[in-house]
Structure formats: structure tokens, C-alpha cells
């Protein structure tokens, strides 16, 4: 098997890994780099548990060949160093139940602007499946992070 050197910035530090160019980014992150916070839930870009940021934009790392992040900046959940306010809010608001979708959910939420509406949050997280919460607690965590009021219910009446 051919291994290429792939050089990219991972959580702020330059990494130079040897990997088959077709290797999936998620496998390189989890196995080569030892960063297991990025989770695999489906392998089809549908559940979003493997979401990482590539040059600041959320992508599903289970369907990105590692060759495509050469020269890019990759940020995983570990890159937040446990210091991001969203991380604590996900626990406090019970936006994380089983927790398997949580890293991907947080990474996707990071792309939200400063004063999102509930619809903005919904749209930004539509690529992340959660089976535990029904999403409401996730909205509470994200809206609190952004200092936005939390509606009791989102439906029209």
C-alpha cells in the first residue's frame, strides 16, 4: 500500500502523517493521531458524529479522504481544550445524554454566528443526528452560549 506524507495543521499544531492518500480523515485522526473524540456513527455523512472543522467549516470526516486536508487547518473537539463554554453548557443543559453525538454537535454549532435565531440553530445542526435528546436541550445549550433567549417551544401556535 502506498503511504504519502500528508501535512496539515491539527488543532493549531503542524502534523505530518504518513497515510494512504485515500484513507479517511476520521481514521487518521482516531488511529494515527490518537484523537478519539471524533466519533463514527454511520460512515455515510448522515449522522454528523464525525464532524470536524476544515478551514473553519464543518465537514464529516468519515467521507473526506485525508489527501484533501493537505495544507488545511483541521480542528477536532480536542482542539477546544475543554475550555469552550459550549462544552460545559452541553453538560449542564443536558444537551449531552449518551454523549456520542456531542463532539460532532459542538463542532457543527461553532459555525453559528453571534446572534442566531432558533431556526438558524436548527439549520446549522440539521446535519447532526441525536437519538437521546429530541434536540431541545441542545438548543438550550447553544442559545445560552450565544446569550439568546430560549423559547419555551419552537412550534407555531
Amino acid at each position: 500500500m502506498r503511504y504519502d506524507r500528508v501535512k496539515f495543521t491539527l488543532n493549531g499544531a503542524v502534523r505530518d502523517v504518513a497515510a494512504p492518500p485515500a484513507a479517511r480523515l476520521i481514521d487518521v485522526l482516531r488511529e494515527e493521531c490518537g484523537l478519539t473524540g471524533t466519533k463514527e456513527g454511520c460512515g455515510e455523512g448522515e449522522c454528523g458524529a464525525c464532524t470536524v472543522l476544515v478551514d473553519g467549516e464543518p465537514v464529516c470526516s468519515c467521507i473526506v479522504p485525508v489527501a484533501q486536508v493537505a495544507g488545511a487547518e483541521v480542528t477536532t473537539i480536542e482542539g477546544l481544550n475543554g475550555e469552550h463554554p459550549l462544552q460545559k453548557l452541553f453538560m449542564d443543559e443536558v444537551g449531552a445524554q449518551c454523549g456520542i453525538c456531542t463532539p460532532g454537535m459542538i463542532m457543527a454549532a461553532l459555525s453559528l454566528g453571534p446572534a442566531p435565531s432558533l431556526d438558524d440553530v436548527r439549520t446549522a445542526l440539521a446535519g447532526n443526528l441525536c437519538r437521546c435528546t429530541g434536540y431541545s436541550a441542545i438548543y438550550r445549550a447553544v442559545m445560552k452560549w450565544r446569550g439568546m433567549p430560549i423559547p419555551e417551544t419552537a412550534g407555531a401556535t
Binding site: M1, P21, R24, E44, I63, Q68, G127
Partner: protein, 272 residues
Amino acid sequence: MRTAVSELDLRSTASLDDALRILRDERRTPLAGATDLYVGLNFGTLPQRAFLDIWAVDELRGVAERGDALVLGALATYTSLIRSPLVQRRLPMLVEAARQVGGVQIQNRGTIGGNIANGSPAGDSLPVFAAADAVIVLRSADSERRIPITEYYTGYRATVMRPDELIVAIEVPPVEGRQWFRKVGTRAAQAISKIVVAGVRSAKPSVAYGSVAPTVVRVPRTEEALAAGAGIDAAVSVLETEIKPIDDIRSTAEYRLRVATNLLRRFWAETA
């Protein structure tokens, strides 16, 4: 079972000329955002083993006006289409379609060229291009040709593209008339289309459907009926004979036909 990565041969390039040379000399499947091909890899259903990664070919990324045409680079992502003021102004139905593709993660990687090349009859952008009389620009190392999208597909996921060619752009002529788009998916987001419609209301109306045939289709006889002022009921009767959808794991022929006709009525009512 996932395809073993060791069985795959992926070569990357950042240059269009290189890409075209490689495609001339080697049999490789172009790979852009990988949002379709890598799903096949994960499911072990991918027939190909050799790929040409063109994600870094930045010259295929732009959106511009050339003459009176709107030219979309093949590597334009759904996100870039959604954000493009030019596309918002000239082809709002494409923005609408792009917003309904996958989630944000897929919109960030999926490309318009990839949607066309993949050729799924359920591809969300395809009815938009078909209704807008878009032209696909195919280039090879020594030639370039322009194929109207309505002539591009020859069957289920089969196209006129040669292995040495690459989709480099989509040219959309000026769209006269009110644009309309509706996707009926399997759920509210991250859905595969069970039926998808794009229409343009003008003196010569155009209507295109996805997920009702092996390829995206225009419905010329229905369009004629609409253009002739035969009334929507008559046009619906024509449509019922013009498309023959099928049952699959996502929906039924009966539902698709009924919704296709309902949506023709809605298109006509909402663009009146």
C-alpha cells in the same frame, strides 16, 4: 463491509491541465467533495478503484457571468452557491435546492459538478439545471464540448461523458420568468428526494422532475400544454401519461405520480 483503503489508488492534483492529462493517460474516476463516492467506499459498494482527486483545482471553483450566461465552476459547493449574490439573483431556485441538500457538512463539501457526474435521478440540483436549459461543459486534454443537460444522461447513471473528460462548468443562460422549486424528501432535512420539481413560468414554461424516471426529465408535452393555454387540468392529464415513476425503498409509483401532478398545479398556481 467497507472497501479496504489499500485497494484504492487516489491521485491528487491542483492543476486543471494536469487533471486532463492524467485523465487522458489513465482510467480514473474524478473525485471532488467525496460526499457520494466515499459513502460507496464505506458501504463497500464502490465499483471503481482508481480515482483522481480534483478538490484542489481552484480554477474550477468560481461563479461568474460570461456573456449573458451564468457560469458555475464544477467545484462550486452548495455552500458557495447559497452564499453567492450572483446565484441568488439569477438562479434563486438553485439556492433553494442547495439549501435542501444534506446538512451543512455535506453542503460544504458537495459540488455541483459532483451532483451532475453522480447522475442520481434524485439529484436535487438536476431539475433546476434541466428547467433552466443549462449546458454542461466537458473538457478533455484536447477538446471541449457543450452538452445541454437534457441530452447529457442516456440512462440510469449513464451519461455521454467520455472517461477522458471532466465536467468543468455549468453554463446557465438567462432565465426568463418566475422560478419555482420544490423538493419532497424522506424527511425535513438530510433527505433523499422522493420527488423533486423545478419550473420556470414564462411564455414557454419549462418543468423538470427528478426521481420519477431513470434520469432527470423535462416534460415537453406537458410544457406545450401549459404554453398553449390548455389549462392546468389538461396539462395534468398530459403529465400523467408523460412520466412513469417506480416503486423503490423510499416511495411508491402511485404516490410519486399523484404528487407530481399536485406539484404541477401548485407550480402553476403560485407562479400565476
